[in-house]
């Protein structure tokens, strides 16, 4: 069960399992697959549709199905399901859901650099910003397949438009035993002395790795996984943050451009927290270099080594 697997496979398997008894689930793909998807396609051909390489129609068809009462999962590569059809998402989901009840869940695969070899069109550094710009949207950015899998039940139980930002790679399992509370929207992995590292998605792995290495130097970093980027429990998160003087944010996306860091800026300002911030993310330019994900991360200054250095420097200031 805890063998690492792709986030999408875990989520899709939960969807597939449920489709037998829950006749309201409809799965829509923009010509994007996975091994588990083949099961959905063959077992529920009446409630699976491939709209083709047509993300705009993916969203509008999903909206139409949702208006007819279906619980829709729409599936494509992350940059395309967020950016190619952004105004469809705005109009037919964010706006329309303010007036009519609808349940549409956008599953985007390929957070950050996860499509390492496919270059910047497939890499995705803007999606958190874009989806955060839209009212009424719930946004989830899990760090392992366990959380990705858990999201299924949440999607079915809660109406409204949602964006699920999944990694394309198979990442190590983080939540081996206990599941985090979806309601809270974040999970505290360890408490720290003065500094808390808040990470989302893949970057949680880097954060935990860095925290382990800091521990060997006698420094305890707090580590928090912020997997709900829209409706996490603010009061609880603020209570956590009040324990610290320094906050490091880590996201696999541009920093300073409306992503997770901007969410925390806002939170901190709103609640007059006295925290110094270091925001680790990708600098504002596109990169065409090739390399492993870790190599790309190191070059971008968010790899385990580069980020650890920057955090050390930050703490010494």
């Amino acid at each position: 069960m805890n063998k690492p697997r792709a986030m999408r496979d875990e989520l899709l398997e939960n969807i597939w399992r449920a489709m037998d008894s829950n006749k309201e689930i409809f799965f829509v793909s923009a010509d994007f697959g996975s091994p588990v998807l083949d099961r959905i396609r063959s077992d529920y051909p009446e409630r699976f549709v491939n709209v083709g390489v047509a993300e705009q129609n993916l969203i509008n068809v999903s909206a139409g199905l949702a208006l007819e009462g279906f619980q829709v999962f729409a599936y494509a590569i992350a940059p395309f399901i967020t950016m190619r059809c952004f105004e469809q998402i705005r109009v037919s989901l964010a706006l329309l859901s303010e007036v009519r009840q609808m349940n549409v869940n956008l599953i985007g695969v390929g957070a950050g650099y996860s499509y390492v070899m496919s270059g910047p069109t497939h890499q995705c550094y803007e999606d958190i910003t874009l989806m955060r710009s839209l009212p009424n949207f719930q946004i989830f950015s899990p760090a392992d397949h366990k959380v990705a899998g858990l999201l299924f039940q949440h999607c079915v139980d809660h109406s409204g438009p949602k964006y699920l930002r999944l990694d394309a790679q198979v990442l190590p399992t983080i939540y081996e035993d206990a599941a985090p509370s979806l309601k809270k929207g974040f999970h505290v992995h360890q408490a720290g002395d003065t500094t808390c590292v808040m990470a989302t998605g893949y970057m949680l792995h880097t954060a935990l790795e860095i925290a382990a290495s800091f521990r060997q130097q006698g420094i305890e970093l707090g580590v928090i996984d912020l997997f709900d980027l829209a409706r996490f429990d603010q009061t609880e998160l603020i209570a956590e943050l009040q324990e610290y003087t320094h906050l490091v944010t880590m996201e696999e996306g541009f920093h300073g451009r409306g992503g997770m860091d901007s969410l925390l800026f806002e939170l901190i300002a709103r609640h007059d927290l006295d925290l110094r911030m270091l925001n680790l993310g990708i600098d504002g330019k596109y990169r065409f270099e090739l390399g492993s994900r870790v190599e790309l991360h190191e070059k971008a200054g968010i790899g385990p080594v580069a980020a650890a250095k920057r955090i050390s420097a930050f703490l010494e200031r």
């Binding site: 006749k23 309201e24 409809f26 009446e46 409630r47 549709v49 709209v51 083709g52 047509a54 705009q56 129609n57 969203i59 509008n60 068809v61 999903s62 909206a63 139409g64 199905l65 949702a66 208006l67 007819e68 009462g69 279906f70 105004e87 469809q88 109009v91 037919s92 706006l95 329309l96 007036v99 009519r100």
Partner: protein
């Protein structure tokens, strides 16, 4: 009345009509369907709507008048011609036909229609575009009778195909109608939906193009011509028919035939219309879209009984 309505000419119920499907949408018998007897003279009704629309525009010059005059007969045929099933008391009545008004900006003529049918009080017509009103320059589903968000062109057909597929999968007998502009069909998103509807044989989907051959800045042919739009839609696998979009009887006949034809193809009606119909200076004016007739012209067109 309600039974009669449901069996009115032009209403086709496949099979035994009402079937039950999961959870929502079971036929509750709560609907009140205003499908109209033959006693209504559609062209008189259209003329009344025309006057009402001009009167609204006189009070609210922010509304797009030329666009809203070209689609009057289409909506009159749909709502008074026995084509659509609907219930003003329960706008989202599950047994309604879904009518998606994608060219929202050019549907101000729906305000008097919806008011008269009982979707909201007629007094609201006095407040169009005023503070506190829900009747704006571009209608949204905060107005009873509207299904989807409007204003941004090119979404209605895609959402409608999704609804049509959803109805089909639920084995729901009702149909989906979408009203688009011809300029609107420039948007590539429509062509994705057009391919999709063909692929899935959505013959419960009806596209009505308000084909006034004019977009915002010019005649559509001078901007981005559809050339022979029927031929294009047919090449994409649609059944198409053209008729005079200001002839309510022709529209009624064609729409009711369309609705009862189910041959596995989505259907399009190209309604040949005139933007700004009936208003001198707007008709055949390439910039009709953005022109507002002078107050005096409106007065003379309306006579003095305009604000009934």
């Amino acid at each position: 009345m309600r039974e009669a309505a449901r069996l009115a000419p032009g209403i086709h119920l496949p099979g035994d009509g009402f079937i039950s499907f999961f959870g929502f949408g079971q036929f509750q018998g709560s609907g009140y369907s205003v499908v109209i007897a033959n006693s209504i003279n559609l062209s008189d009704k259209a003329h009344w709507v025309w006057r009402e629309t001009l009167a609204i525009h006189r009070r609210a010059p922010e509304t797009r008048i030329a666009s809203s005059l070209s689609s009057i007969e289409i909506f009159v045929a749909l709502y008074y011609g026995g084509i659509l099933e609907f219930d003003p008391q329960e706008p989202f009545w599950d047994m309604r036909d879904r009518c998606v008004i994608s060219k929202g900006h050019g549907s101000i003529c729906m305000y008097p229609i919806l008011a008269e049918l009982g979707y909201f009080p007629r007094s609201e017509l006095q407040r169009v575009c005023q503070t506190g009103s829900f009747l704006g320059g571009i209608p949204d589903p905060v107005i009873p009778g509207y299904e989807t968000i409007n204003g941004s062109l090119g979404h209605g057909l895609g959402v409608a195909t999704g609804m049509a597929l959803g109805l089909r999968r639920k084995k729901h007998p009702r149909s989906v109608f979408v009203v688009c502009g011809d300029g609107e069909l420039h948007e590539g998103a429509n062509w994705e939906a057009i391919m999709f509807a063909t692929q899935h044989g959505l013959d419960n989907l009806h596209l009505i193009v308000d084909d006034n051959k004019t977009a915002m800045l010019d005649y559509t042919d001078n901007i981005l011509s559809h050339q022979d739009l029927a031929a294009r839609l047919e090449a994409f696998g649609w059944q198409t028919v053209r008729c005079d979009g200001h002839d309510t009887d022709a529209l009624q006949t064609v729409l009711s035939q369309m609705k009862s034809t189910n041959s596995g193809q989505p259907k399009a009606l190209l309604a040949s219309t005139i933007k700004g119909r009936g208003v001198p200076g707007l008709e055949n004016q390439p910039l009709a879209h953005i022109l507002n007739p002078k107050r005096e012209l409106l007065d003379s067109l309306l006579g003095d009984s305009s604000d009934e």
